[in-house]
């Protein structure tokens, strides 16, 4: 293979995930030809959306470096779902124009609290966000000990289905991606990568390392709230258990996408690709009637291969 192609491939962290996603898509179509039938696309994307969104939401904490990780993304998504269904629906706040901004602010606030614990109070990120995980999981159960069905027809259903000809999931998955693209046009993303890469350098160059880290967790929380809204459309209820399906998948999606878990390299698009791979893999194995145990094993295998592959490429890109 020509070194030039190799170089381009190695410089994109998501190359492996993109390639794998294409392969898995083809495999899915072969195994199940109506996978890409026009009337199937919107619901399929609707099922995929929460995976993709939690993956994207988990990415920023990793990028911010310093051992950054946010374990509380999944239960925060659960909390948004529960608050939307049990508090907002059926009141005058139930419409998207009021509910969405309030929920996003809630997500950003919880994320910012994580960020303050990590950056200002110097908690190890694993401990800080694990603590938040337990608090949120408890809060979720307290609010809805048993699942509460959402009122029959509401605007979130369209997000899991279609809005006119456009699949609603394009909106929910596209919103964080658009936010990220917007941020890339500002110095923010570069600052985030520089802080994650080498915080001492960033500090000595005059960057506000704490502000960058806190905002990274806050944006992660905000995206988690988007995930909660997408989830509500999908499950049509408030459920304190459903987030459990997304905890580890979110972290796996980031790693599979090719983001450097130690910070400094990666982005939301790679995580989106990573999450897509996981979703497609699960879908493929399910349609082949593989057992649930085997699906878990397959996740692990793909993750090992991805990390190994990524490490190889990365070492090649960086000279000794």
């Amino acid at each position: 293979m020509s070194t030039r192609v190799l170089r381009i491939v190695t410089q994109r962290p998501s190359s492996f995930a993109v390639g794998l996603a294409v392969l898995l898509l083809v495999a899915n179509v072969i195994a199940q030809p109506d996978f890409i039938a026009p009337n199937q696309i919107a619901p399929t994307l609707g099922t995929m959306a929460p995976f993709v969104i939690v993956g994207m939401a988990s990415t920023l904490a990793f990028l911010s470096g310093g051992g950054g990780i946010d374990l509380s993304i999944a239960p925060l998504m659960g909390l948004t779902n529960i608050v939307l269904v049990t508090v907002f629906f059926g009141t005058s706040f139930g419409g998207p124009l009021l509910a969405v901004p309030i929920l996003l602010a809630l997500g950003a606030l919880v994320g910012a609290l994580n960020g303050v614990m990590v950056a200002r109070l110097r908690y190890p990120p694993v401990i800080a966000t694990l603590g938040t995980f337990f608090v949120l999981a408890g809060l979720d159960l307290r609010l809805v000990p048993n699942p509460v069905t959402a009122a029959g027809d509401n605007w979130t259903n369209h997000l899991a289905g279609s809005i006119g000809p456009v699949p609603g999931a394009v909106l929910t998955m596209g919103a964080p991606l658009l936010l990220w693209i917007g941020l890339r046009r500002t110095p923010y993303v570069q600052s985030l990568l520089a802080v994650g890469d080498h915080d001492a350098t960033a500090f000595s160059a005059g960057m506000d390392v704490n502000a960058v880290r806190i905002s990274a967790y806050a944006i992660g929380g905000l995206i988690a709230a988007v995930g909660g809204i997408a989830l509500t459309g999908l499950v049509r209820s408030a459920d304190a258990q459903v987030f459990n399906n997304y905890i580890l998948v979110a972290l796996a999606a980031v790693a599979l996408g090719g983001t450097n878990l130690a910070g400094g390299r990666g982005g939301l698009f790679p995580s989106m690709m990573g999450a897509t791979c996981i979703f497609l893999l699960e879908n493929l194995l399910t349609s082949l009637h593989a057992s649930a145990y085997f699906i878990e094993v397959a996740y692990g295998g793909v993750l090992f291969i991805a990390v190994l592959f990524g490490a190889r490429l990365f070492n090649r890109a960086a000279p000794a």
């Binding site: 500002t186 500090f203 000595s204 160059a205 390299r265």
Partner: protein, 523 residues
């Protein structure tokens, strides 16, 4: 070359700011003090930096140069003293950002680059706000190319910083300071990683900056560089500024005398009787090279010798000691003579097996087990000795330990108290006891008396000379001249990653040593 008398008297310190009125002072510090724990890094540092001058700071290890730089860059807060920037007195610079706003840009001794980011990003790091770009995209590109182009021939702006060679990476860090158009540029040993061509170009850039009215604080260990560009030199000694001299006011030898000072004459640390007669060779470095451009090092160390390892901080002496302790060198090998046979040392495990014990420099990170007891910390390297019928016997370990409590005068409470209940000096004694207990053939020590009190130092010296008298080869890296002069049979001086010279006991004087650190020629 200027030649001088053999032992020059230190010239009377001349503070010329008292002589001529301080014209155009852009930065002034007075009575600056800073301590880290028990270590007083700066005690009384005063100097002023004038518009359009290159002001060099010189001083030996631990004189406070880097602490001064970090205070002026907003990294450390001083405990006392004042900083005056542009005529405005500020208690301290609260952050690197505040220092930047005040017009101060610093290039640090360590190369600070975000390795995965592009050179372009590294140059503009920290220049933008969080969301707002202060410099338009085209200008970023053009100015980065221009600034870096002044230092290196073909600036590549889009490669990741860690793909660059060391010299180019440091040039990138220098460019980061230069694009800010600083009023005050601080270069802390920033030339040491540069290749010759880049260094020459940097000096040309500095000339231009000076002509434009910028001021440069220049920290360098190289006497030739200081002579070449410095208008004035301030000498630091033990955290104090002892003199500020104009260009040509002092010869290099006089500068060295100012750096070393005339501290009270030390008492003899070794009795003449204990002076070792060197035995058979026990270990040798065979063609050891610490990096790819270094000259190979060939050194033989004999039983019963006390060998000092010296040099300014970061010139390869630390690496060399680690190589003797089993770390892999860039090239060459360490060979031990064991019972007439030669065995190569390839790993720390090998080193231990051949009777090489190593006392690391960083006590907390590398040698003590903070959560374990005093006794366990002593016992860990020789725990086999306390085994009877497969069980560890604490009483036996305690008996072994008591011997060293006597000889090292360790002041410790109950032996099962945590090691952290002891003072730093006593912790160090426990670590030394740990390794002496394995009766090493070669004892390596990495600056063992750093941050310990005078009494403890004396106890350590005595134990080391006793060990040498019993035939142990003792190799000790030291940053204190007095230890090197009084304790060692010979001293290996390192400079720029290679063995620069070897001084025998009869040649060991303060002047001789410091000259070998700074001077242009071999002693």
């Amino acid at each position: 070359m200027r030649d001088m008398a053999n032992e020059p008297a230190a010239p009377a310190p001349l503070t010329d700011s008292q002589v001529s009125p301080p014209a155009d002072v852009v930065l002034e510090v007075a009575g600056l003090a800073k301590s880290f724990g028990a270590t007083q890094a700066l005690s009384d540092c005063s100097l002023d930096l004038r518009r359009g001058e290159v002001h060099a700071i010189m001083g030996e290890n631990g004189s406070g140069k880097s602490t001064l730089v970090k205070i002026l860059s907003g990294v450390h807060r001083p405990d006392g003293g004042t900083v005056t920037v542009g005529g405005e007195k500020v208690p301290f610079l609260s952050s690197p950002r505040a220092a930047g706003t005040a017009g101060i840009a610093t290039v640090f001794q360590e190369i600070l680059a975000a390795g995965q980011q592009s050179v372009l990003e590294n140059i503009w790091l920290g220049s933008d706000g969080l969301l707002r770009r202060r410099i338009p995209k085209d200008e970023r590109m053009a100015r980065a190319r221009e600034t870096l182009g002044e230092l290196i021939d073909v600036p590549r702006l889009h490669v990741a910083a860690n793909e660059l060679a060391l010299s180019d990476r440091q040039a990138t860090c220098i460019a980061r300071a230069l694009v800010r158009d600083p009023k005050v540029l601080i270069l802390d040993e920033a030339t040491s990683a540069l290749d010759v061509a880049t260094r020459e170009r940097l000096f040309a850039v500095l000339e231009r900056l000076r002509a434009r009215g910028a001021s440069i604080l220049f920290i360098s260990h190289r006497m030739d560089e200081v002579e070449e560009i410095a208008d004035r030199v301030t000498v630091l000694r033990s955290g104090r500024s002892v003199a500020t001299l104009r260009r040509g006011e002092a010869t290099p030898r006089e500068l060295v005398a100012l750096m070393t000072g005339d501290e009270d004459a030390p008492a003899e640390m070794r009795s003449a009787a204990a002076k070792s007669s060197a035995g058979a060779p026990v270990v040798r470095a065979a063609g050891v090279r610490l990096h790819d451009e270094a000259e190979p090092i060939d050194v033989e160390i004999r039983a019963g010798e006390l060998v000092g390892i010296a040099g300014l901080e970061g010139h390869g002496q630390d690496e060399f000691l680690r190589v003797l302790a089993g770390a892999r060198p860039f090239a060459g090998a360490v060979v031990c003579a064991v019972d007439g046979a030669e065995r190569e040392v390839r790993s720390p495990g090998d080193a231990l097996a051949r009777g090489i014990a190593y006392v690391p420099r960083d006590r907390r990170a590398e040698s003590i087990f903070e959560s374990r007891s005093i006794l366990e910390n002593f016992q860990v390297a020789t725990v086999e000795a306390d085994r009877r019928h497969g069980l560890l016997r604490r009483a036996h370990a305690e008996r072994r330990f008591e011997r060293y409590v006597q000889t090292l005068k360790i002041v410790a409470g109950h032996r099962t108290n945590p090691i952290t209940s002891l003072s730093g000096g006593n912790q160090q004694k426990v670590v030394i006891a740990r390794w002496l207990a394995m009766s090493p053939r070669i004892l390596l020590l990495n600056d063992p008396t750093r941050g310990v009190d005078a009494g403890t130092k004396r106890d350590i010296y005595r134990v080391l000379t006793d060990a040498a008298a019993e035939g142990t080869a003792v190799v000790m890296l030291s940053t204190e001249l007095i230890e090197l002069i009084e304790l060692m049979d010979r001293v290996l001086v390192f400079r720029e990653g290679q063995l620069f010279c070897e001084l025998q006991r009869s040649e060991l004087t303060r002047t001789r040593l410091v000259e070998s650190y700074f001077g242009r020629t071999a002693a």
